[in-house]
């Protein structure tokens, strides 16, 4: 069964450094998402992306964050200058369509640790 793959599985970085988290969505999916989960807290929406542009973003997704689909297969999340509070599990997801009858498929996440 096709799946969403994320790399790396664990990223450690120092405060103030830039990180890029990578995702390969399911190949025929058109909608792409990033979510995050701080340890012990809820899964939170960051951004959705369709047709090479952001379609929705949350308050968390400020100017420090950016997303890109640099080629036909990858979807990336960049954090420009990491802060301690950015430490979390970051999940990429994709869906075929925009509605509930086309569910989100999640990857297994990248655990980001900012020291």
């Amino acid at each position: 069964e096709p799946e969403v793959t994320q790399t790396p599985s664990h990223q450690v970085t120092q405060m103030g450094q830039e990180v890029i988290l990578r995702c390969v969505p399911i190949s025929n999916h058109l909608y792409f998402y990033w979510y995050r989960q701080i340890l012990g807290q809820k899964v939170e929406f960051l951004v959705s992306f369709y047709n090479n542009e952001i379609s929705e973003k949350s308050e968390i997704f400020d100017d420090q964050f950016s997303v890109e689909r640099p080629d036909g297969s990858n979807f990336t999340l960049k954090i420009r200058s990491t802060k301690l509070e950015d430490s979390a599990m970051y999940f990429c997801a994709s869906s075929l369509g925009a509605r509930g009858n086309s569910p989100l498929h999640f990857g297994n996440g990248t655990r980001l640790t900012v020291t």
Partner: protein, 114 residues
């Protein structure tokens, strides 16, 4: 403010002991309610989508139901492999057309002992 609350936080069952998980929600118009399963170290795995009060969906030992204020995930005769965290999420009509902005609850951690 849109909100999702799940209870209990944790549930321990013996194999074969049926039970229910609760998801209460407050949204300004429900576009859809979603149930996911999350295993340790993994991403959420989709189970069900429910759209309107009275709707029910079933998959193996799981059955999800929806009312105007809450959803239940019923687990019939669970097995140890059903052990996981079950997440409930809603999409509100106050957001745009994309289903991406899901509001999650904290989940119920289910342990099923043989």
């Amino acid at each position: 403010e849109d909100q999702v609350t799940q209870s209990p936080e944790a549930l321990r069952l013996q194999e074969g002991e049926s039970s229910s998980l609760n998801c209460s929600y407050t949204v300004s118009g429900l576009r859809g309610l979603f149930w996911y399963r999350q295993d340790p170290g993994k991403g959420p795995e989709f189970l069900f989508t429910l759209y309107s009060a009275g709707e029910e969906k079933e998959k193996e030992r799981l059955k999800a139901t929806l009312t105007k204020k809450e959803s239940f995930l019923h687990i019939t005769a669970p097995k140890p492999e059903d052990s996981a965290t079950y997440l409930c999420a809603v999409q509100s009509l106050s957001y745009g057309g994309s289903q991406g902005n899901l509001i999650f609850g904290k989940g119920t951690k289910l342990s099923v002992k043989p």
